[in-house]
Subunit: 270 residues, 2 copies
């Protein structure tokens, strides 16, 4: 999917909501456990109930790998279901991968080609030749970790590197990489005050913003400081939506939570 | 496996060789392609031929994920085969994972518990709460990326952070984390001169050293500057061993290459 198509979807749906499909078998409604593939059954119901309210889905691969072969199968079924039924939706493999050149190419192929996600999250620590293999895929996007929403973000990301915080060095350096127009960035919503600084470095890039809701981030602040002319934001919510109810009405409850956020987004879009 | 058991194996085998099982279906001998699971067949032959010469095996998960469900199955079969037939061998899931707290726990469970690897490689960018979930597993090891062997290592890892290179900050900071005695570190062999500095910060830790051979690192230099009283080194070789021959004699050729390195290691162990 091109960035232009993503922006067009945002305008059409009046939403820049991304729903995180971080599915924990211990948290899904009990009645689903009798299904052949409870995780896929859960995802399918969530997707059916929310696809008109969001523009992106983001399964975190950890939650699928944790169930081994079965989990990998649930992930495959989920991405295939989205691509077949809702090809207009932007898909993110939240995998936080990164390895040396030829190995990164293997990861990129796995997520962007074989599973056919539109994008994948990547860690910056190993530098240019660990990220460029992901950037080489046409009309696919690499979402680089810049400033994350966890407390550990302060261990290294906000430390001064040559007089500038590490996350800013990551933003600036990454702009010099080949096919850098395919980059987006992860920026945690728990630090809305940082968005002004970030927009000085990457005014045009899309930012994937986790941490609204469960992690304490504020939607209005993120929009105020982070939005650009093309919107430039994908706001993720996972637990707040998918676990809105643990009963049989879980999908409807998820849709209601998604609708609340979508309505706030429609206001922010003006 | 405890560190003590690993050291004991090193002394017994006079080897601190780790063999990287980075299996590319396009590079394995043609005659294996008729097998039901060519990747596992390849690994099994390599393991059968080399297990007495090395103390560790390290599959890089990217090479398995690239084949989706099939690849994941090959990885499961490989780790099970090692654990069942050679439980004395230290196993490393080279996964370079790292995510926020509860998500890192999912990854840790997947690799250290379900697949039952002895260790997993982890990226430091997200800090303490992304790594500590891995450290919580008893008699398991977390191998943190410090200074990698690729050119991109110079993008951020060697940059000055508060007057000290980032990789040194990673080493120092990680020592303050809970259960830090379960930490090992990835340090690329292409930079043997760095080992002296690294040993000042982590004198007792095991270092996993990729980049000997294919990437240009020198075994003697690494031993000279990196070895400690408990040896403290695992030297990895992947392509140089497993692709020593592309013919039917591939396993024997791999054993010969492994033997060459093991003999150099026996000399270094004195």
């Amino acid at each position: 999917m091109t960035t232009k198509e993503l922006v067009s979807q945002i305008q059409k749906k009046k939403s820049f909501l991304c729903i995180g499909l971080d599915v924990d078998i211990h948290k899904i409604p009990q009645h689903l456990l009798k299904e052949e593939d409870p995780i896929f059954a859960f995802n399918k119901a969530i997707i059916d109930a929310t696809h008109h309210l969001c523009v992106a889905y983001k399964p975190n691969t950890a939650f699928y790998e944790a169930y081994g072969l079965k989990g990998w199968k649930s992930l495959e079924k989920t991405i295939n279901y989205i691509n077949e039924n809702h090809p207009e939706i932007f898909t993110i493999a939240d995998a936080k991968r990164g390895d040396i050149g030829n190995t990164s190419t293997m990861y990129a192929k796995a997520f962007l080609e074989d599973l056919n996600f539109d994008s994948v999250t990547v860690a910056p620590y190993m530098g240019k030749d660990s990220v460029e293999p992901f950037l080489a895929f046409n009309n696919k996007h690499t979402i680089l970790l810049a400033l994350t929403s966890n407390t550990g973000a302060f261990d290294f990301q906000t430390k001064q590197v040559d007089g500038k915080e590490l996350y800013k060095q990551v933003l600036e350096t990454s702009k010099t990489w080949e096919n850098s127009e395919n980059l987006m960035y992860v920026v945690g919503a728990t630090k809305a005050e940082y968005f002004t600084e970030i927009r000085k470095i990457v005014p045009d890039s899309f930012l994937l913003v986790p941490g609204v809701g469960a992690q304490g981030g504020n939607l209005q602040d993120v929009c105020k400081y982070g939005m650009n002319e093309q919107v430039g934001l994908l706001i993720n919510s996972s637990r707040g939506i998918i676990y809105a109810s643990s009963q049989e009405d879980f999908a409807q409850a998820a849709a209601e939570k998604a609708k609340e956020l979508q309505e706030q987004m429609a206001v922010a879009l003006g």
